[in-house]
């Protein structure tokens, strides 16, 4: 293949990838967009093999086959609720691959002879650094989302100082790479130094982010893995890799910004763990308040409280807990009553709904309400779930048509005129404290105006604060509120029964 054809092919494929991404921004064309991106990437592989004349290197194919089998199995088996951690994991693998490519080119193995050794050395080290930060950051993120690691931000003494120090060291190593030339010992120093420090940095920066902010971290890491690819492409002199890596890096960054804006918080605050309650003392205090709350409300020994202590995530309903019965019969009846009479209902699903696997029951309830003549809408907070858009995916899985789903801005003014707001496993995104409690980490985050609805029904596992650790004043409200505590499935089933 001649050089000119190669350039033209790269240009066409870059445009195809861009087209694919832009098609993915509309529901109707998204599937086609994804396919276009996938086909372009496949053609990119073919072109690379042909242009570099390496088709005869047969070892390539078993390696790829192994990757295809593993990747295919992961894609086919993963549950929708586990999507965020899978994306994080895959993303980390991409970063890892870039770091390996960077390592090889720094060692001068497997790259064509270059006229620009300085450029290759610097980009190689950068590829290792960005790739490994992506890998270890993603692993921590996936671990937090999969609950292998604590959800709360882990803050060390002098955390910021350590991170800044790492950054300076990484910068120094990158500069150092400009001078290593082809001295084996200096190359070894650059290689080992960049591997150790960037791995540590990846862990150190991700571990300080709270579980609720992981989506944004993943999105940022996603962008980083694109950048890592592009830099690796510079190191091995691969035009297509540079172009596509750049595209992914930039659009990933934009997506990160969009998410930050939705949560009305700075990227910096998120990365420094400022957006979650970190002091354990405060956590205990809120717990006591919540406990007292339940006791006064129910006057019976509340099962959720004894359970709550062992639950890793407060405020939402972990699955596989069936004992808690709905307390307070009158409240339950009222909730059914409210729903039976409501002409308009807005359902606010949260991650708790997904944990309780209650999305199908929610769909049934919505159908029943519609059959009763009520207008039903779903209000989706931009960060509902563990990833932006995650809730939409989960509801789509339960056959809720996407034109019943409304984004926060589209539906928020309607709560005032709505007969009933039904909250299922959501907490922080409906917490009115975000509007006026200036000293809380969620202050300023836009929330759904659930509190303005004529009646509010909340099906949460317990009354503990959500991910952010901020107590929800709605729970203390005396009137127009119906709390159905316990597993969302049980609560919804009893509502469904009540409505027939």
């Amino acid at each position: 293949m001649s050089f000119t054809i190669y350039i033209v092919a790269c240009a066409i494929l870059s445009v195809a990838v861009l087209t694919g991404i832009s098609l993915m921004s509309k529901v109707k064309t998204a599937v086609a967009g994804n396919l276009i991106s996938a086909v372009s990437l496949f053609l990119g592989v073919v072109i690379t093999l042909v242009y570099n004349d390496i088709l005869s290197a047969w070892t390539i194919f078993p390696f790829m086959l192994i990757g295809i089998l593993i990747g295919g199995a992961l894609a086919a088996r993963v549950k929708m609720i586990q999507m965020p951690q899978l994306v994080a994991l895959l993303n980390g693998l991409g970063g890892f691959a870039s770091a390996l490519v960077g390592t090889l080119s720094l060692l001068g193995v497997g790259i064509p002879k270059t006229d620009y050794p300085l450029f290759v050395n610097v980009t190689s080290v950068l590829a290792i650094v960005v790739g490994l930060v992506t890998l270890f950051g993603s692993l921590v993120a996936a671990g937090k989302l999969h609950r292998l690691l604590p959800q709360k931000p882990v803050v060390w003494k002098n955390h910021s100082l350590i991170l800044n120090l790492c950054l300076i060291l990484l910068l120094a190593i990158t500069l150092f790479a400009a001078f290593v030339g082809d001295h084996p010992s200096m190359i070894a120093v650059a290689l080992i130094g960049s591997i150790v420090i960037s791995s540590f940095f990846g862990v150190a920066f991700a571990i300080r982010v709270g579980g609720a902010d992981m989506p944004i971290t993943i999105s940022l890491l996603n962008s980083l893995s694109g950048v890592a690819g592009a830099i690796a492409g510079m190191a091995v002199n691969d035009l297509l890799l540079v172009a596509v890596g750049g595209i992914v890096g930039a659009s990933g960054l934009l997506l990160t910004q969009v998410m930050c804006r939705a949560m009305n918080r700075g990227l910096n605050d998120i990365l420094t763990g400022k957006t979650s309650v970190t002091s354990s003392r405060q956590g205990i205090e809120t717990e006591h308040v919540a406990e007292a709350e339940i006791v006064t409300k129910t006057k019976t020994d509340p099962v959720p409280v004894t359970k709550a202590g062992t639950m890793p995530e407060a405020g939402t309903m972990p699955k596989a807990v069936h004992e808690p019965k709905l307390k307070e019969e009158p409240t339950k009846k009222t909730a059914v009553h409210v729903l039976a009479e409501a002409k308009s209902v807005i359902i606010v699903p949260g991650y708790g709904m997904a944990l309780a696997q209650a999305q199908h029951l929610v769909k049934q309830l919505a159908d029943k309400l519609e059959a009763n003549g009520a207008e039903v809408k779903f209000a989706i907070h931009p960060v509902a779930g563990r990833m932006p858009g995650h809730m939409n995916v989960l509801l789509a899985e339960a056959d809720v048509p996407y034109d019943m789903l409304f984004e926060m801005d589209a539906v928020n003014d309607e709560f005032v005129s709505t007969d009933a707001a039904l909250v299922i496993g959501a907490n922080d995104v409906i917490n009115p404290a975000a509007r006026d409690a200036t000293d809380t980490p969620i202050y300023g985050m836009p929330v759904l105006n659930v509190d303005q609805a004529k009646e509010v029904i909340i099906c949460n596992y317990d009354l503990k604060p959500g991910y952010s650790g901020v107590e929800n004043p709605l729970y203390k409200r005396e009137e127009r509120i119906h709390l159905l505590l316990g597993d969302a499935k049980d609560s919804l089933e009893s509502l469904l029964k009540g409505l027939t």
Partner: protein
């Protein structure tokens, strides 16, 4: 290729990429993120050339190193690509099949 050209391509790609996804509804953020995640496995191309070149032209030591590190890179990147596009497709299919009563 001259480094300046590569840097230029990177900058242009970055700017264009930035402009192109400005109007994505949050409904699609998860699929889009996972789709772009799959694309970031493009680093597969770099891994392919590394394995290919060491296979064809290297001394014994380089051959082994290139095959091991490069091979792992190919596997990791392929898992990223195939897994990424696979789950994205699954997610998008779920949006696609819905033609609910209200539509």
């Amino acid at each position: 290729m001259h480094p300046i050209v590569l840097l230029l391509v990177f900058v242009v790609a970055t700017v264009v990429g930035y402009l192109i996804i400005k109007q994505v509804p949050s409904l699609l953020h998860t699929p889009l993120m996972s789709g772009m995640n799959a694309l970031s496995g493009i680093t597969l191309l770099g891994a392919l050339t590394a394995v290919g070149f060491t296979f064809l032209a290297s001394s014994r030591g380089e051959l082994i190193l290139g095959q091991i590190l490069g091979g792992i890179a190919i596997i990791a990147a392929t898992v990223n690509v195939v897994g990424g596009f696979g789950v994205t497709h699954r997610m998008l299919k779920m949006f696609d099949k819905k033609k609910g009563p209200t539509s």
